[in-house]
Symmetry: D2
Subunit: 358 residues, 4 copies
């Protein structure tokens, strides 16, 4: 930790800061600047906090030197985390595609979409039973009956399933019925829910908050991991900025950043990241190219009748096209992907190129 | 609701949209533009949603005409809501000052600060027992013992008390021990918690989320009000922007905006809004001048030993000065404020002016 | 300057950084952290730059200790800068109000508004002759004839005048016809224009860029001051954020921040800061309360016929009310303001209070 | 255009708006909502502006239906614009790579880098002679001698050249010595410079402003095109957001958005977009995958001695690797790219895959 003193800091203030550091059993190292003074703090082992130092008279800023997260950090664990569920491995060579409707609306709707996405190469099926909606007047999800439908999808298709939990009660139910528990962007700093998620034995997908820094996101993962559950998948889904041409601004630079400082797998969600169907495929391609371990997209066979987020859902036909385009890029990158390989070889043999969706 | 068609929309797409609107029992009104077409939708009464229309082929954007929140809107209730707790009235003539430490650390700390802020004119005492902290390694609050200390503060000083709830369990406890339940910025869209807060009989202070629009904030209030609890106090506490010279960017324009479209009282928190002690007083003055119904500030008698947020806490002496400055402005504005009036008259008689903190 | 090494930095990388620092004639001070190493750099006197250090292998971040701006800094000049033009002093005890139309449209329009705002207490008259408009299809200003009208306003009313320059040619003309040259937000980092402005002898009002940090803003002022023109007035006019309820987000915390680190006067523009007439007055009050040296507002006698920005223009009647409200707050604060004092005393004697615009 | 009236709008206000619309010779179409009224405006042909309508009493918002830019719009020109300079075609099948140092520092530096990037497959050489720097104390570029070096690069290597202009004078010189004139992010709304650029006969690369919307960006292009110069290349280089893990947030969703609504070619600059060398290659891959017509990157043979932006410069070795990786993706996408094809085939024959930079 480094304490930077304000320019008009007095000799007494500097000495007081040094005395406080030493009083807490840490060591102080004074570094004179051209017009300011900085004081390095070592061996503090948490005995004196950033907040306490910041509050001392004359102090301008505190610069942390060590990262605040530990379990999520590559400094703690060099090897990349691979999460295995059945024969699906997230974080390894394969680029895993997660697909399904925004919300489970009925058994028919869910099964129709499940068969379509499975055939096209999706490995994991998504579908919300508990929907966090901005307005209380919007469709809030089917609840437990929705989870029962998800269990049937798993049984009948063999797909791994994921669904969102919005509080402790729904988390227990999602963990009972599904393979992966999702924590949504709005709950990324619902620390009570994160702690509860840390106590389940199921993998957790943690979406980045709408205005969360990378550090805050990894500290949210740390809350889960501290409880003993190290199976955390991160999901970049766009952040809120001044830009209004997409629903959120998909921050693809988060992927190499997270891969650089953490060992956790990271997935990209271009459906929420853009909010507009016609931009999902180009951004999914970009997500794979930037190095994501997976892509999560929303698919609906009748988007115009969807009870939520229909404007960002791909049709099954568009999803087929997406899988084909991802397949080409993934193979070029030397990674693996389910499904579209055969079609890819065929069409490539036929010289089909340059027909990507814009 | 207005449906704006894309410029290359075909005649068929336009007719399909009109047919869909009418199929749901609403009326469609076509408005040709110079190069585009828009379609007004009336009498829909929720029978066809924005999402459904957005998903139709050829549709560019949907423009809502009616506000999405109802109970929180001045269109529903013209008279301003005044929330009365004992002899404190929030939302009326008086500008109410809420003060106290970030976190309850001990009975001694809490009582010392309580006596100091009460004497200076604070009407409500704040203090966290459950602290939502970015890092799991930071002090998380005393929990129930902290609430017991708050109960003692109320008993011994007569101050109204407020404390934050972070989940359903802590909300029940806060409602039992305190007068007002606070929902923090990170939980503004924790809809499960909002619904639970709507079922308590205690007033709820709802802080604006770090990147929440005004509409999202009022829809969060709507979740609480829908359960029958109409005693909601809004609190602007700064939003997240590119600007880094303050911890958050205090958006004071939110105050007249909210007062224009809603009847709920609105309070400003310059402590979180700036994150730096020396900026709290100027922004508190501005908060009163812009028309807020109250100001919430953090006070600590030993900021450099505070277990959280010490760098933004005022000392009791700084709080005295703040109350004096607010008193002058509030009286000039023709509103009322507790406490500093006498000192104000005295000092004014002595010609003390122009000594405001920068 | 402090160099923070990445956690996996090797011994060789650390030694290489130290060697580079010393090779450039500066001194290196190694500070071991718990898991990282930081290296303090002193006596560098610009011999090695931040960029050069950042580029060395193993380096994580560079933390500057000394502020990058000098002439604009209070570290260079303790006394506040007061800019005198005729009998108007900006940066002293008086809160100066600048008012007038967005654009000069005709002599009649300009004179009508000038008489109205002068009578109400404005000291400086604003009006654009060169308008930087987002669209090339919008009204671009009258150009030189507009400046001639401004010269007539000055002659006939005695008001000090300000107008915006958009390139070197218009800057020379504005400096010839007006008392103060304005550089707009979009040109805040037009360094060629800043340098040219530094060579005029007229005071310059420098508006904050739409996404400029405080540091970038003061460095822009530094470009002007380096050429010998130290008469710079800063103007906060709102920044761009995700929030859409106002045209920009007025960042009032910039005022105490700038006053803390710089000696230059700072003015608040709530017209551009909010973009909506009904929010101008509350935010103007807040601007005065937060400590601004002046307020700049747009006034038009027929807003609905204004050729630009009519939706944010006050009518002369609204401006009268604004001046009255500001007068009350300014006097309470112990500062001075022109004009409304008499009316204020009269109305106060009559017990008129509590009738502020919301 | 659609005028949405405020909820408390009176019958008189509504009639006044309709009368004003008709008085200007346009047609008004009233659309009653559940609780508000909207008025469609047709056949206005610019006779009544958005600003004028917005300023009328009772008006809440104005919703434009037709896009404000014309020449840059696909509604005006369906075919994509291809800009040909020598044998380089920007906007066609080929993905064009632009590479070179941030600033021209010396003939040696420039030529060394030019030979390296040409060999690796770059088609266009970049290098700044006029550098817009945040601080007046930073290296400002060599000026005209820098342009003479660029002319030599072109002569000796055959590379097309691009350099930034910062004012009218430098623009004339850049147009004289180079093939493409660049207008930087800070000058995107320097309308005087845009107009001047419209009068040159050279292609112009227009970088997106740090907080520019897509509409503002295209309107800036419109300023250039209105003067008769239709050879505009857009460049996404990151926008300013709360996120601090990269220097800017690269908004790759801008690429499909711009391609959807405009016919102009669009290039991605991951060097400024991330500001960190190790993130340039992953984001360049993503830029190609999302559909950009080109990539612009900074390369320096001795980044640690670069006079500006060394921390984001690739070494020639890293640039080789980048070209190889881009080559693989571009070929998979069915587009063309210069240079790395042979190496790609060779290595592919050798089974080299999966060795992408993270």
């Amino acid at each position: 930790m480094l304490v930077v003193m304000g320019q008009p800091a007095t000799r007494e203030q500097i000495e007081h800061v040094i005395a406080e550091i030493e009083r807490h059993g840490a060591q102080a190292h004074s570094i004179p600047g051209d017009s300011r003074v900085a004081i390095g703090v070592t061996n503090h082992h948490g005995r004196i906090s950033r907040d306490q130092l910041q509050a001392l008279p004359g102090v301008s800023t505190i610069v942390p030197i060590t990262r605040p997260f530990k379990l999520a950090s590559r400094e703690t664990r060099q090897a990349r985390t691979v999460i295995q569920i059945g024969d699906v491995r997230i974080g390894g060579d394969e680029v895993v595609v997660i697909a399904g409707p925004c919300a489970i609306e009925s058994a028919d709707q869910a099964m129709t979409i499940a068969h379509a996405v499975r055939q096209a190469g999706a490995r994991i099926y998504r579908g919300g039973a508990y929907k966090p909606r901005t307005s209380p007047y919007s469709f809030q999800g089917l609840g437990r009956p929705g989870l029962e439908i998800l269990a049937r999808v798993r049984r009948e298709t063999g797909l791994v399933t994921i669904s969102e939990a919005v509080d402790n009660e729904s988390l227990d139910l999602v963990a009972e019925y599904c393979d992966i528990v999702q924590i949504g962007a709005r709950n990324m700093q619902n620390f009570s829910l994160l702690t509860h998620a840390g106590r389940t034995r199921k993998p957790v997908m943690l979406k980045r908050g709408m205005s969360a820094t990378i550090e805050e996101w990894l500290l949210a993962a740390e809350y889960i991991m501290m409880e003993g559950n190290h199976q955390v998948i991160l999901c970049e889904r766009g952040v809120r900025t001044f830009a209004q041409h997409t629903r959120n601004t998909l921050d693809l630079s988060a992927v190499p950043t997270v891969r650089w400082i953490s060992h956790l797998p990271v997935v990209v969600d271009p459906s929420h990241g853009t909010g507009r169907r016609e931009k999902v495929t180009p951004l999914a391609r970009a997500g794979v190219a930037v190095g994501a371990d997976g892509i999560m997209v929303e698919v609906h066979h009748k988007p115009e009748e969807a009870l939520s987020d229909g404007e960002q859902a791909l049709t099954p036909e568009m999803f087929d096209q997406l899988m084909w385009e991802l397949g080409i890029i993934v193979q070029a990158l030397g990674r693996k992907i389910e499904g579209p390989a055969v079609g890819y070889q065929l069409r490539r043999g036929l010289g089909v190129t340059g027909v990507f969706s814009s």
